[in-house]
Symmetry: C2
Subunit: 221 residues, 2 copies
Amino acid sequence: MPQDAPVVKKQAVQHYGAEVLFYDRQTEDRTLFTEKIAEERNLTLIPPYDHPSVIAGAGTVAYEILAEQPELDCMMTPVGGGGLISGTSITAHGFNPKIMIYGVEPEQADDTRQSLQLGKRVMIAPPSTIADGLRLQSPGELTFPIVQQHVTDILTVSEAEILQAVKFALLRLKLVIEPSGAVPLAAILFNKLPKKYKRVGLVISGGNIDPPVLTSVMEQK
Amino acid sequence: MPQDAPVVKKQAVQHYGAEVLFYDRQTEDRTLFTEKIAEERNLTLIPPYDHPSVIAGAGTVAYEILAEQPELDCMMTPVGGGGLISGTSITAHGFNPKIMIYGVEPEQADDTRQSLQLGKRVMIAPPSTIADGLRLQSPGELTFPIVQQHVTDILTVSEAEILQAVKFALLRLKLVIEPSGAVPLAAILFNKLPKKYKRVGLVISGGNIDPPVLTSVMEQK
């Protein structure tokens, strides 16, 4: 995990029995860091997004949504490395090729939006968005072509909009959603999606939020 | 609503389009208050627990749980006026008469526990527990005989145990549960239930919790 991962995430993973190792995401490369440990200890590396099985696994979320509600016009997911939106879009288009897929990134971490506009993977500086799960600098090698093929557009939301969505989820949906998971909800609440869609499915994923962040969310006007 | 109901509950209900009227639960009687308004405005009163249809409605929660997981040894619910536990226990015993039913009350609002022990409905002083949905002074007229017939025991939890359960739900279950809804979880976390049960179903109901309470829960050690 990055050293600045939420404490609650670290504690939960340790409590479930895992050993957690940390790297500095400003100065170290995650891929090199994990590959080195995997080699030293003879472990199998499970990458967070850039692997066909991981993409397929992420797609099961969309499968569950569409099994329950097949008549969607549009689906939205957060975009970090692109695994979730790749699995979502492949699954959705297996159900119905007309479902429009939108990704949502924080304004400060719009590497995939920029990459789509330029038609190639760009690398941005390490973002400082509160959505810690979306602090990616570049789309994945496997995921980016899938995003190019299947995704209609990438929307962006501000830090304040993300916090408002977390607060709305807490007080009205009664769900603890981490900032990274709240970006599609923020896009809906702040009218970023074209108005023409009538039935929109949101993937809201991740509930690792530290108590001080929860407290500051509560204090948002 | 009582004047001291959570602000978030009042705001949510108003936002959904209702007119909210308040009474002072220290000095006014809720039943008289609502009957008077119903008569003045020619409205139908829907009682919160002491009515066969309300009890049956509450029982649908147990129906959903048991449809998904019929092999339960035991079910637990919060106990306020007794509607939820009445519906739960009738439904559960329709599935399987061997399912043990436990109710949970705050230590400060144990009117049903005391009533069961004495074999008749007792009236306690207005309780000041943080579990505002369970601040009842007496079990219902219809619900109490059902509780006597179907419920194995009433467990109690302290105010600190309730807050710990709310915190556990927030940080580990990622659910916003109001103190009233958290009492069965508190009973499990603090070992109030006999150890012999292997498969226990909890009804966790209600997410109306004010931001200052959420903040204070976060600050619990």
